[in-house]
Symmetry: C2
Subunit: 331 residues, 2 copies
DNA sequence: GTGAAAGCGCTAACAT
DNA sequence: ATGTTAGCGCTTTCAC
């Protein structure tokens, strides 16, 4: 039932090579012939079989993306970027969700390897030993994780944290809580590290948690932060921050009047962040696009060209224009 | 560099056919031989090339999913379900985002067709004429859209709406606003239809909009609803509802004290819905799983077996336990 | 139970 | 500029 290259060749009265060339090497076939062949193909509804092509060229025209959890709003945005850039570069994309499971992640890479030209690993959960096993099976690009000198797209977490702390400091805050996300999370370690570096003279950081990186993790975290007497909270991510704000509202603490809340991540790109929440945007969609660019350049360029690592700036987005400094004498 | 079936055959001292059979028809090869072959394959790190296999069997072991917009939180949840079920059934999945563009959607189906055994179309934006063009190119399963007698997974929108209206009516509401989503949206039409059917004696529905199905659409919608003097609002989706609640808070209207708000969709599954918001859960993840089951059964069963259409129940989730009836004399 | 050989749809030499 | 031929890695007759 599917239309093959043979069908087109027969119908157009030329050889299969000519049809093949009309698609893959247009300059090698006479204009007149090419037009006729292409028209015939179009009329018959012929679409080249990429799998068969890949069998011989060694390049599949596909690339894979693996994310730890699709229901974490961080990743759909990355995916969106991967998608649009991949389509522009005429790549199809395989998607897999490893469900936060590193073993599964390894298996997925191996399963994909033969069908793709490269794989983009988002916030990979793999251990060093596991990574060892897959390096070499296919081209790899990491997003949001740095591993050896592997190609990677990273966020300037430290920069984002610095912006957040500077912002809070300028508002007069002196005692700030950081609500940790999952201990095992590479992102969380990065954010803690960034925060410690950003902490300046006269600023005290109170670390709390770990908490679940979701709305549900917020309310409890808010209680603990309140008990610590901080005047500002930096949450691991926006989801948790939303949960924090919900509890603050319940307890009659006004934001940003009595408490400033900063979220990390960029789910606000989907239009979800509530105004009084200040967020550090991670530019996930952009990260997805850059990851594809990186992978494609790895695939096409023979020798290594340019830096295989890209760092993306984070951006502090202040939604609450009415922020007021807390009363420094309070407690 | 990749290990082929030839390599395994040579190493194991058997023919390629035997290796092939060891994988695809275990009962046709002597236990002893099979174990040895499998062990050798394992040792060499051999993974069958699915593309090559597909070339001859006609089945690729892949399936495709097309969504209109990944940054709409409705879809990642469906994807999550598709993913996990597909993996269980040993299918790999191609993902594409058509960016709300029907023309692009058609092109994507055609591009995928040769590489997949079937495609799952989520909330397809295609016109009837466009659908005509792709039916037959591959097996299709629709999610959240009914088109002719094509296999589909639908949500019981009407049932969800009925639950919402019953809930509000029981609380004493008599005048309810419905905030429309995009006019062109099939979901919106379904929800309106469900609402009209659910509207009972003594309940007045005020239709507003259309509004953007995002947080940003909410604030303006809230103002209009307030001006209409309703006591309850049913928003097209959770995102918009969140925007509504934000504006209500700004204007000092308490939820659910003075105004009840109901959202549609299930982004709350990601843990995002704020407590005072009541939502109608669409079970998107479940829809994804069911869609895969449907597709797989379409592919494996020769004759049509069972109903090619599944309807999923919607579920009203009341988060605000403190809801109070509005003052019926008020205005 | 196992091997040899014929392709699946396509591209890449090698002719012409 | 176009046609012929030999495979890519695999499954599947058809022999043995």
């Amino acid at each position: 039932m599917p239309v093959t290259i043979q069908d087109v060749a027969r119908e157009a009265g030329v050889s299969v090579s000519t049809v093949s060339r009309a698609f893959t090497a247009p300059e090698m076939v006479r204009d007149e012939t090419r037009h006729f062949v292409l028209a015939t193909a179009e009329r018959l509804g012929y679409r080249p079989n990429r799998a068969a092509r890949g069998l011989i060229t060694g390049r599949t025209g596909n690339l894979g993306v693996i994310v730890p959890d699709l229901s974490n709003p961080f990743f759909p945005n990355v995916l969106k970027g991967v998608q649009s850039r991949a389509r522009e570069a005429d790549y199809a994309v395989f998607l897999a969700d490893c469900d936060e499971n590193a073993t599964e992640e390894v298996a997925l890479v191996q399963a994909m390897a033969k069908q793709v030209d490269g794989v983009i690993l988002c916030s990979s959960r793999m251990s060093a030993a596991q990574l060892e096993r897959i390096v070499g099976s296919t081209s790899l690009v990491f997003v949001n994780r740095q591993v050896g000198d592997q190609p990677a797209v990273l966020m300037d977490t430290a920069g984002g944290m610095r912006q957040a702390v500077d912002h809070l400091a300028a508002l007069g805050h002196r005692r700030i809580a950081f609500l940790n996300g999952p201990r095992a999370s590479w992102s969380n370690r990065e954010r803690r590290r960034g925060l410690r570096r950003a902490a300046r003279q006269g600023i005290e950081i109170v670390e709390l948690g770990p908490f679940a990186p979701r709305f549900e993790g917020g309310p409890h975290a808010a209680d603990l932060a309140l008990a610590e007497g901080v005047t500002a909270i930096i949450a691991y991510n926006d989801l948790m921050a939303l949960g924090v704000m919900s509890r603050l509202a319940d307890r009659g603490v006004s934001v940003p009047g009595q408490m400033s809340v900063v979220g990390f991540d960029d789910i606000l790109m989907a239009g979800m962040a509530t105004p009084p929440l200040t967020t550090v945007s991670m530019q996930n969609e952009r990260a997805g696009r850059v990851a594809v660019d990186l992978l494609v350049s790895l695939l096409t360029v023979t020798g290594a060209a340019g830096d295989p690592r890209r760092e993306l700036e984070c951006q502090l987005i202040v939604r609450a224009s009415t922020a007021v400094p807390p009363d420094p004498t309070g407690r």
